[in-house]
């Protein structure tokens, strides 16, 4: 609060294009202009990276005030009394000439460039009015490098804005990529061919204003204007980074980062971006199966209920287990207890081991709206302890946030044997290794944050983390881990592994759950609701195919308890690619795409409950979850506190 007042006192007033603008001290003229919706072309300036003054394209004319004449708006901090014109003929001419200089060496290969259509250089070239190349001298060329299977390098297109190297070295702490050469020979690359080592290298694709770095996994596949896109949430881990999946012809092509300053900022990790596109898998279950035979939905649902009811009659209550998972969207997860109710089984199982279950319960119950640490909190932390977690696995984007905190001077403590030093090395930061949480001197720092992994964390220690006075970020095994832990803790869900191993479970309903094949042996009736070809699907007598996250709307609750909505990108169905052996798409069109008879898990669960005589809610998120139903997929999401929510909402 004190900070806010402090900033208000120092709010220089300036005039941009005849509009009065109040801007906080320290921001550039470019940002001040953006804050009132005036767009100044820029290449090197990036909100997450700041300024470099390398591209010279953000020229404006200062008409009056402390500075006069043509200035680079990104380099110039606002001052009282500035009068700025972005439309002055001098400024316009300057920008046009800069674009023309940049285009002198830029190849004319837009038709074969994947950036074409989503290229900042293209946009500003056209906007600046440079349509015909006047310089007819030869262009400088470069030799490209192999940068791994994910990123394509085309140095001829480079306009030397330095964004890539600033991101890679300063923001992400990578050391194997840099800038070489001088003058007109400046080269951005590695010393030698080889995959980029940073776990955030994919952001070069997003951040490059032109086509030097393009996504190789979607090379030559589609154009921006043809993309099927929708706001979505990364299903890769419990961080819940905001993404935009890109699809075309019912095929998921690539993942692009989507800005959410509360969660991932501008970037996402390579693990989420270049994850295998499982939604395209031709082996995915696409029709309901009963004993390996294709069946209608009604048949399969009837068979499931009939057989499980037989098991209940034969072995008594509790012989059927319903298993959810951390990747089941919250819509389905919140209905799962109803399904176990109609099947006379106990609380659904969510987590594999007893330790993980207890750690998750402990984590979710000690986190409130106040003490949960968001990514922004991690970035601004004064000290960070990473407790029993390898963030490269459990939440890579937190590692990037940790680096930003470290850059501002926060020490980083790695606690426990499962917090390897390699993870901090991957982002170029130094860390101190400790054995026990008690050793971490969190109290002596301002704004301490503890990042704890439920995978290896000790439940006893987890339960006491709030006593450190630090904000807590607990990492769960899947994108909806917090939601699963919330429901599990409420109903006392037990560990799945132990239940299956005990032999008491005779019937199993696996709802988007990954259960090792050996645990499924000897269970008489296995039913699986899933969109992946998991071991449960392979072992199951009854398979009900569900939609992948990109094929339906849904909600994930991320590690800090933030519920975020994701939207449907693709209409369910087999990708057009591969439908016809001759390579053409089908010539005759049907009303429904082949393999498109998939249903969201919540709907299948709801149907099963209704068929079994229960009364499922009309809408998946209703009752106490109704507040989640109206979430804006492009908003910041809504934080649910683990401890307070059940009574509160």
């Amino acid at each position: 609060m004190r900070e806010c007042i402090f900033i208000k006192v120092l709010m220089p007033k300036l005039i941009i294009d005849k509009r009065e603008v109040d801007a906080p001290e320290g921001v550039s003229v470019l940002e001040a202009a953006q804050s009132v919706g005036i767009v100044i072309p820029h290449f090197c300036w990036h909100p997450a990276l700041g300024k470099a003054g390398a591209c010279r394209v953000c020229a404006v004319k200062m008409l009056d005030g402390p500075v006069k004449g043509i200035q680079m708006s990104c380099m110039l901090p606002v001052q009282e009394g500035m009068v700025v014109s972005t439309t002055d003929p001098d400024a316009v001419a300057m920008r046009r000439q800069v674009i023309e200089w940049l285009m002198i060496n830029h190849p004319h290969d837009c038709p074969v460039c994947d950036e074409g259509g989503e290229c900042q250089l293209q946009d500003f070239t056209i906007a600046g009015g440079h349509g015909i190349r006047r310089f007819d001298g030869p262009k400088r060329t470069h030799v490209n490098q192999y940068l791994g299977p994910n990123i394509e390098h085309e140095m001829n297109r480079c306009i030397q804005c330095y964004r890539c190297v600033r991101f890679y070295q300063e923001h992400a702490g990578g050391s194997d990529f840099g800038v070489m050469g001088s003058a007109g020979r400046v080269y951005f690359g590695r010393f030698e061919h080889g995959p980029l080592e940073s776990p955030f290298s994919g952001n070069l694709v997003d951040i490059c204003p032109t086509g030097v770095f393009t996504d190789r996994t979607a090379r030559f596949r589609a154009r921006y204007w043809d993309y099927d896109m929708a706001p979505s949430v990364c299903p890769g881990c419990s961080v819940g980074c905001n993404i935009t999946p890109v699809a075309r012809y019912r095929e998921l092509l690539k993942i692009v980062a989507r800005r959410n300053d509360r969660v991932n900022g501008w970037f996402i990790c390579d693990r989420g971006r270049f994850a295998p596109k499982e939604a395209n898998d031709p082996l995915r279950p696409r029709t309901p199966l009963v004993d390996g035979r294709e069946a209608s939905w009604e048949e399969a649902e009837d068979a499931l209920l009939r057989r499980l009811n037989e098991i209940v009659e034969l072995y008594g209550e509790g012989s059927v287990l319903v298993v959810g998972s951390s990747r089941l969207p919250f819509e389905g997860a919140s209905l799962l207890p109803l399904l176990s109710g109609v099947l006379s089984s106990g609380a659904p199982g969510w987590f594999a081991t007893r330790r993980e279950t207890r750690a998750a319960h402990a984590a979710v119950s000690l986190m409130t709206r106040e003490n949960g640490a968001s990514m922004a909190d991690v970035m601004n932390a004064g000290c960070i302890a990473i407790y029993e977690s390898d963030l490269r696995e459990e939440g890579p984007m937190l590692l990037l946030a940790v680096r930003q905190a470290w850059r501002r001077g926060a020490p980083v403590l790695l606690v426990g044997e499962h917090s390897p030093l390699e993870q901090t090395r991957a982002v170029g930061i130094e860390a101190v290794q400790l054995h026990y949480m008690e050793e971490a001197p969190l109290a002596i720092f301002d704004r301490p944050v503890v990042i704890a992994g439920t995978k290896h964390g000790d439940p006893e220690v987890m339960a006491m983390l709030d006593r450190t006075g630090a904000r807590i970020a607990a990492l769960f095994p899947g994108p909806n881990g917090f939601g699963a832990a919330l429901l599990s803790a409420e109903q006392g869900g037990g560990p799945v592994g132990a239940a299956l191993a005990s032999g008491r479970v005779k019937g199993l309903v696996a709802v988007e759950a990954d259960i090792p094949a050996e645990l499924l042996e000897g269970i008489p009736v296995v039913a699986a609701l899933d969109w992946r070809a998991t071991s449960a699907v392979q072992a199951a007598a009854i398979v009900l195919p569900t939609t992948a996250p990109v094929e339906s709307d849904g909600t994930y609750v991320n590690f800090e308890g933030r519920a975020q909505k994701f939207c449907r990108v693709i209409r369910p169905g087999l990708p057009v690619k591969g439908l016809d052996p001759a390579g053409h798409p089908p010539r005759v069109h049907e009303a429904a795409p082949p393999g498109g008879d998939l249903r969201p898990a919540w709907r299948v669960i709801s149907d099963l409950v209704r068929l079994a005589g229960g009364t499922p809610p009309e809408e998946p998120l209703s009752g106490r979850w109704a507040r989640l139903a109206g979430l804006d997929p492009e908003g910041e999401g809504m934080v649910l506190g683990g401890r307070v929510l059940p009574n509160d909402a």
């Binding site: 830029h106 190849p107 004319h108 290969d109 837009c110 038709p111 074969v112 074409g116 259509g117 007819d136 001298g137 030869p138 262009k139 400088r140 060329t141 470069h142 030799v143 490209n144 085309e154 001829n156 070489m180 050469g181 001088s182 003058a183 007109g184 020979r185 080269y187 690359g189 090379r219 030559f220 596949r221 589609a222 154009r223 204007w225 043809d226 012809y249 057009v576 690619k577 390579g583 053409h584 798409p585 010539r587 005759v588």
Partner: protein, 176 residues
């Protein structure tokens, strides 16, 4: 006098039409007589080849974006050597309005209009032309142009050896 003027006008009109009765009709009796359209006539669309015989079309999607009736669809793919081309390319001539915007948008002069205006089929599905139906063995109107020679990247020639290009920079050189 107005009445006289009006009657004169009517009689002039009658005389004009009477003269036209004796004039030679301009009608072309189509199936028997055929006109030769100009080479720039906009009818059946083809995909041409570059002087080296390679497919000119790089499947950049500009024609399908320009098409006002959405009759062009395609899928781009990469072939050996980094060349980009259409895995499949389809023009639905039953929807095409022959406006020529696709040919205008084409950056590689691959898609061109021809004067062959006789595109009639008994089955409407026969009007859906695939890439094999569209691809011809010649260069069309601009036979000598090869996009990749001017693109500024190395696909058909080693890097730095295309038109208007300098040899690749020696990044490790220390000279200014």
């Amino acid at each position: 006098m107005r009445v006289v003027d009006d009657i004169t006008a009517i009689l002039t009109g009658l005389w004009t039409t009477l003269k036209h009765i004796l004039r030679r009709p301009v009608t072309v009796q189509y199936p028997e007589e055929k006109r030769t359209p100009s080479p720039r006539y906009r009818a059946r669309i083809i995909l041409t080849r570059d002087p080296d015989g390679g497919e000119r079309c790089v499947a950049c999607y500009l024609c399908s974006a320009a098409c006002p009736v959405d009759c062009i669809s395609m899928q781009a793919e990469e072939v050996e050597g980094g060349r980009r081309r259409a895995a499949w390319f389809r023009i639905n001539f039953s929807r095409c309005i022959f406006c020529g915007l696709c040919a205008e948008a084409c950056p590689t002069t691959a898609i061109q209009m021809t004067p062959d205006y006789e595109i009639c089929k008994r089955d409407v599905m026969d009007l859906v032309f695939e890439k094999e139906d569209l691809l011809v063995a010649h260069g069309g109107k601009d036979a000598r142009y090869n996009f990749y020679r001017h693109a500024g990247i190395g696909v058909t020639q080693p890097r730095g050896e295309g038109a208007e290009e300098r040899p690749p920079v020696d990044v490790r050189g220390l000279l200014p």
